[in-house]
Symmetry: C2
Subunit: 469 residues, 2 copies
């Protein structure tokens, strides 16, 4: 890219981006209008100052049926960086529209990790076609990456890295880096390896820069390392980066050989995704994404709605058993959803806290019991507050102190059960090696709905307010 074509972020900010770095609607409209009018030159002029991430956003924001023509109009700017920044669903659709030769050109200019991210989603035939069109070196690197499990460190890592032998000095490293044109230009650490290519230490570039040429690399490097096994799940890799505040880390194969490097910019997306997906999973919205094909969203969500249908029928069955009691006192039917609804909310609160604590490794076997005790205490305080408000309100409204006592006891009981279920359901799911977020909500709501109706209607009968009919 020549100097004149360099994206100018300040210009982009002025014309196209709002104060939160989002593309302005009028700017998007202007580009789409130019494309629709066949004015490719105009569209390219508008797009020119944008960063790759902004171009990716532009294509995501465009209506699905205009994305292909938009991409064709500004094809010179659709490079690997843009594809790497793009939402998975949007990228898949766009990649399907390109031919293997075009894809191979793009993949060849990328780091292994970004190239793999694009190629791994293709169907097998297209994958083979793209691999055939690549340089032999690129092909070997990408084929090896694809041999590791999906979402593992092996898929995530770059193979381009700087490794030097133990006996080198700082001066040797500087000469090597300046002499060899083929080396990668972007790296954050230098790895010192033994003759078997096993890492013995790592060295921040700032330490190398601050050290005289004669000093041995083994005196500059830090021996204490956080090594990532090549088959480690990406979520674990992300937790390790967070915990030890890493910028990059060596990836080793089972025999301890250095095979790649993971850098934090690839991890940041995973951290955000893993932390953000719990809210989606808890609600039963699956991967939830506004660019997901509608059929996929339907399939992901309807499963949990059907599960909810069954749990709601269980709660319904409890009400049916008290049908006679409700006929005697219709106020019971009026008030019972309040007990269930507030119990559900209290359960969701406890569950959200527990799921987050599990995800961040804050809730472990060592403090489970303490956390349960803590949630029971919070539930007791919440329960007493709501019980007093709801109980006195109901007693006044229906002029029945007994009805007030019944609903107060029922809501207190249900909030306690909700707090307990909110912690225990995710903890038990985690012990069973399930994702604690996925089905927690359905279980917790089942417990709080059923318990809400059972406690309220059951206490109404036990207190003599009504009979079973």
């Amino acid at each position: 890219m020549s100097e004149a074509e360099l994206p100018d972020i300040d210009e982009a900010r002025e014309t196209g981006l709002d104060e939160d770095d989002r593309l302005k609607p009028a700017f998007v409209r202007a580009i789409l209008d130019a494309v629709e009018a066949g004015d490719n030159e105009g569209a390219n002029a508008l797009v020119e100052p944008l960063h790759a991430a902004d171009i990716a956003d532009l294509i995501e924001i465009a209506p699905a049926d205009m994305r292909a023509s938009l991409a064709a109009a500004i094809s010179e700017r659709i490079d690997g960086d843009v594809l790497a920044e793009m939402n998975d669903w949007v990228r898949d659709a766009l990649v399907d529209a390109l031919n293997p030769r075009q894809l191979a050109d793009i993949a060849g200019e990328l780091d292994t990790d970004d190239a793999v991210a694009i190629i791994e989603d293709l169907d097998e035939e297209d994958q083979r076609a793209v691999l055939r069109a690549l340089d032999p070196d690129d092909r070997a690197a990408i084929e090896e990456a694809l041999s590791y499990p999906e979402e593992s460190a092996g898929r995530l890592m770059q193979r381009e890295l700087i490794a030097v032998p133990e006996h080198w000095t700082v001066g040797d490293v500087l000469d090597y880096l300046r002499a060899d044109d083929q080396l990668t230009t972007d790296f954050w650490e230098i790895f010192v390896v033994d003759p078997a290519h096993r890492p013995v230490g790592t060295c921040n570039l700032s330490w190398v820069l601050r050290t005289p040429r004669v000093v041995s690399m083994t005196d500059v490097m830090k021996r204490e390392q956080t090594l990532i096994p090549v088959d480690m799940d990406q979520e674990e890799v992300a937790l390790r980066f967070q915990k030890y505040a890493l910028i990059s880390a060596a990836v080793v194969d089972p025999s301890g050989r250095l095979v790649g490097v993971v850098t934090v910019d690839d991890i940041v997306h995973i951290i955000s995704q893993e932390a953000g997906e719990d809210a989606l999973l808890m609600s039963g919205a699956g991967d939830g994404d506004i660019n997901e094909p509608i059929r996929d969203s339907y399939q992901a969500r309807v499963r949990w709605l059907i599960a909810n249908l069954f749990t709601a029928m269980l709660a319904s069955g409890i009400i049916a058993a008290f049908g006679g009691a409700i006929e005697q006192m219709v106020a019971l039917a009026v008030l019972m959803p309040i007990v269930a609804s507030i119990g559900g909310n209290a359960g969701t609160q406890a569950m959200a806290v527990a799921v987050r604590a599990l995800a961040t490794n804050q809730l472990t076997k060592s403090n489970t019991l303490r956390t349960v005790r803590r949630e029971i205490l919070v539930a007791l305080m919440n329960g007493l507050t709501i019980a007093v408000l709801l109980g006195s309100g109901a007693a006044l409204l229906y002029a029945s102190p007994m009805l007030g006592m019944v609903i107060a006891s029922a809501i207190l009981l249900n909030i306690l059960v909700a707090g307990l279920a909110g912690v225990l359901v995710p903890v038990v799911l985690e012990r069973l090696e399930q994702d604690p977020a996925v089905a927690s909500s359905v279980f917790v709501t089942m417990v709080t709905d059923s318990m809400g109706f059972l406690a309220f209607l059951g206490l109404a009968v036990l207190s003599g307010l009504v009979t079973m009919g």
Copy 2:
């Protein structure tokens, strides 16, 4: 720290950490037993191989009433790094137990950003005492940082950075870095500044290492920069780091002067926190953290439970209006919570997707209408599926095709309304410059509960199944 005392991660992994890098319960127990038995030497021997992040975890996992004695027993290992890694609530309690002199010793050895994180939570008197005990240089740096708004880039940034004038060559930079002992040792970029100390370009260290000494820094640096205004909110800083895959970025004051640098390791915590907190906020669990004092958890959660009490009463009022109808057909009371419950779930799904899309800047003014249309389509497919299942089930169970029709229509209507509310409530909150996660759940549940009861009971009357009584 001498070589012998260096933490040995492999040893720690063998003895104290499980495969997910969490402290093993038996290991925690052994340390706590040693502390209780007054065997500080034993406790220190066990803690020795641990990383600062693990020691922070250890103190978090210890029961609250043992944390002070544990910290006292292993006080040599409680340094700034450990405090910086610690959960806010746990750190506050521990810091309260230290005197200003001890705190100043710890704060003095930290980077500005970590020192500020510890000092900003102290009450004013303790803050002044710690600042008085600091070196004048440290004090000035920390006082300036404290003058920026909370959660702004100014609080987050380090002031330790490397900035060089435009006319320097790579050789000048190397000589400068090797000669001056006072410079920071850990940095990821070198900033090139003009005479007014405004950044004109940045330079990855790897580029400097690969370039001959005679080349001018202005030929190595990248002119295109992402500058962070010093008063920018940390959430915006995090989004910008994510979007442009930054490792570090220059922070500038309103006149454009370079005043600090933000690095990605400080951002990773914020990204994880911001992405993870939406699930907590949606449920009304506030900052939700298992280490939060119980009183704070109670106050955060009970507010939303009380809000929910009012919205549940609204739904209750709708049921009360149909009291006569329910007396005629108790099946209505049995079935109505199903309509509300599934509507609530469908609304939560749509809301979780919308809140996430807003948080990641994927849902903007340009595609709001399209997203609403998309959610209506998904809701239509979900609604038809559930309507057929529930309608035919109810018709068979109660031998009443009309009842089946009524409940099927009601659930279809409620799922459509839920999808609409799930998108529109967070979008409207965002337009009103409120956090779209915070109160969304209460509004959406209010809509789906009320609409569920109204549609089902209303249609039962309209269909002639029952009268208003």
